[in-house]
């Protein structure tokens, strides 16, 4: 089981890197073409946005595990260690179950896309809308992983400096 999760994590890390590189390549092509070439492709903007969506879909689950997805754990920190562990585990489970419940409506949303194509790349939009069921599936999977981590007593905390803002 843990080997499968490690494999998924590896694939997700590779996927976010690829999505990021595609995004950067599309934007750079756009700047170079507009500045130096007589023509500029119309599809770079679309490709960059779609890459961003895939970056989010593949990275959201990972960010849950690293603690980048911030929570406010001030109240939790006041609890005695055993209760803290239980609360951490339960909230991570709640996240996983919530994300799991959102997979069917996200698939429904994705199905709407099969009737549409993107204007510049002429891609079928269900391939792009697929990022929504994907993000929910990743959040569900890594929610469960985080629950296991928390039960073992090593959930990340905002106090370690992993946060945004």
């Amino acid at each position: 089981m843990s080997r499968t999760i490690a494999r998924v994590e590896q694939i997700a890390r590779l996927a976010v890197a690829v999505a990021f590189l595609m995004l950067a390549a599309a934007v750079l092509l756009q700047v170079i073409a507009r500045t130096f070439l007589p023509w500029s492709p119309v599809w770079t903007e679309e490709l960059a946005r779609f890459s961003l969506l895939y970056l989010v879909a593949c990275g959201a689950g990972l960010s849950l595990r690293t603690g980048d997805l911030v929570n406010v754990d001030l109240a939790i920190h006041l609890l005695p260690p055993t209760w803290r562990r239980i609360t951490d585990t339960l909230t991570a489970l709640a996240v996983a179950v919530f994300a799991l419940c959102l997979i069917p409506p996200s698939l429904k949303f994705m199905a709407i896309g099969s009737f549409q194509t993107s204007p510049a790349l002429a891609w079928r939009m269900d391939w792009v809308f697929a990022t929504m069921p994907l993000v929910m599936a990743m959040l569900a999977l890594f929610g469960f992983v985080r629950a296991v981590d928390a039960w073992r007593g090593d959930a990340p905390s905002v106090l370690d400096g992993a946060a945004d803002g």
Partner: protein, 426 residues
């Protein structure tokens, strides 16, 4: 009733320690189910919230900041700041503030600044004889400059939400950012003189020039970003990606602090941080849509405008409101949920949207250094290995200085509008 469920679930899940993004999602789902609406609204609005071109800036600027950091820029910035102001009384405190101002031009988030500079400077200040609480307080207070001096992640999100030009907002932040730094430096100097904090010897012009040469490429990145925006050659999203390419070249070839084998790690960790911010943007967009459909922004705006339509009072009221919100709520969630209605109030009494965005973001950043949910305060206290209490006490004078600058920026529109209007026209 629906609204009570929305806010009830949000607060309970937040206190339980659910990540802010998912707390917003759970509250939205509870509202939808309670009102017999389909859950497909969630992926739909989430998708719409993320599928915005200007949001591409976020991974771009985060990567640029991380590449510069990995390339050894932090030490060089600190060395330069130290050569510049370290010889004045309270020198390392001043170095900390000047370092934050320079670092602000590389990174777009306050917490990033607090963690990068604090990690080096807080232990350094403690070793040099500064009290730990003062060291943490200076670092936390000066990290608020990060998202005011461009680039700025909160301003990018405001741009994505309201359509206000990100380029204009970036330029609008430049002068207020310098004022914040100046105010903090004066405060730091006064405290240092009264308490007799140490200072370093003046190391001569030679060291200053050498340190400047070391930090030059970091300073040049701020110039590159501003020049890209001002000249109109590149949009903010394009500037962000060009900046990361620049950071890659500087970190790898000029500073040689970045090895090729580090790159995949830096790329993935930047992508994961960006994914976290954008997931929050997505879920907050669902929550914001529900608020809008319940006409809450409208009600809030009407309530404020029914109290008074005096511009000065409204600006004061907005400041108080945003400060309170900023000290309780996560910045991005606060932006997405409340910025649009509050901007509507401001615009209704004739405040320029860019001006409002500048003092609005400044308010929320000051909220990062006030209890109860001051993330920068937590991060710095944690680095200094202190409980929150003494750091809160030590941050008060700096907070006062930041509030004075806030008032100046709120009531003197020219401080924020002069530069963007000069460059882009009115």
């Amino acid at each position: 009733m629906g609204v009570a469920i929305l806010f009830g679930v949000f607060v309970i899940t937040l206190v339980m320690g659910v990540p802010v993004a998912l707390a917003l999602g759970m509250a939205s789902a509870a509202y939808l189910v309670g009102n017999g609406m389909p859950l497909v609204v969630i992926p739909q609005k989430m998708f719409a919230g993320i599928d915005v071109f200007v949001l591409l800036c976020i991974p771009g600027f985060i990567l640029a900041g991380n590449l510069m950091n990995g390339g050894g820029i932090t030490e060089r910035i600190i060395r330069f700041a130290n050569a510049l102001v370290g010889w004045i009384r309270g020198g390392l405190g001043l170095t900390n503030i000047a370092g934050s101002m320079i670092f602000a031009g590389v990174s777009g988030t306050a917490v990033g600044d607090a963690a990068s500079l604090g990690g080096v400077l807080i232990p350094g200040m403690k070793k040099a004889g500064y009290p730990a609480d003062f060291s943490a307080a200076v670092t936390a207070a000066s990290s608020t400059i990060g998202p005011i001096i461009p680039p700025s992640v909160p301003m990018i999100i405001v741009g994505a939400l309201t359509g206000v030009s990100v380029g204009r907002m970036f330029l609008a932040g430049a002068i207020p950012g310098l004022l914040l730094g100046l105010g903090l430096m004066i405060t730091c100097y006064l405290i240092a003189r009264r308490r007799g904090y140490p200072h370093l010897p003046w190391r001569g012009w030679g060291e200053l020039v050498r340190a400047f040469a070391g930090a030059f490429w970091a300073l040049a990145m701020t110039v590159l970003i501003l020049a890209g925006l001002m000249s109109g050659i590149a949009t903010p999203s394009e500037t962000a990606i060009v900046a990361s390419l620049y950071a890659l070249v500087v970190g790898g070839l000029v500073y040689r602090g970045l090895a090729w084998r580090d790159l995949p790690r830096v790329l993935v960790s930047s992508a994961v941080s960006s994914a976290a911010i954008l997931t929050l943007v997505g879920f907050a967009n669902v929550f914001g849509w529900i608020l809008a459909s319940e006409r809450i922004p409208q009600m809030l705006a009407d309530a404020v405008l029914s109290l008074t339509d005096n511009k000065i009072l409204i600006i004061l009221l907005l400041n108080v409101l945003l400060l309170v919100i900023g000290s309780f709520m996560e910045t991005i969630a606060a932006l997405i949920i409340l910025f649009t209605p509050l901007m509507a109030v401001a615009v209704a009494v004739g405040v320029d949207p860019v001006h409002f965005a500048t003092f609005g973001v400044l308010n929320l950043m000051i909220g990062l250094t006030t209890p109860p949910v001051g993330v920068c305060l937590f991060v710095c206290a944690n680095i200094a290995r202190l409980p929150l209490g003494p750091v809160i006490g030590a941050v008060l004078p700096f907070l006062a200085s930041n509030l004075v600058v806030l008032l100046l920026v709120s009531f003197i529109p020219a401080l924020s509008l002069w530069l963007p209007n000069l460059v882009f026209g009115n």
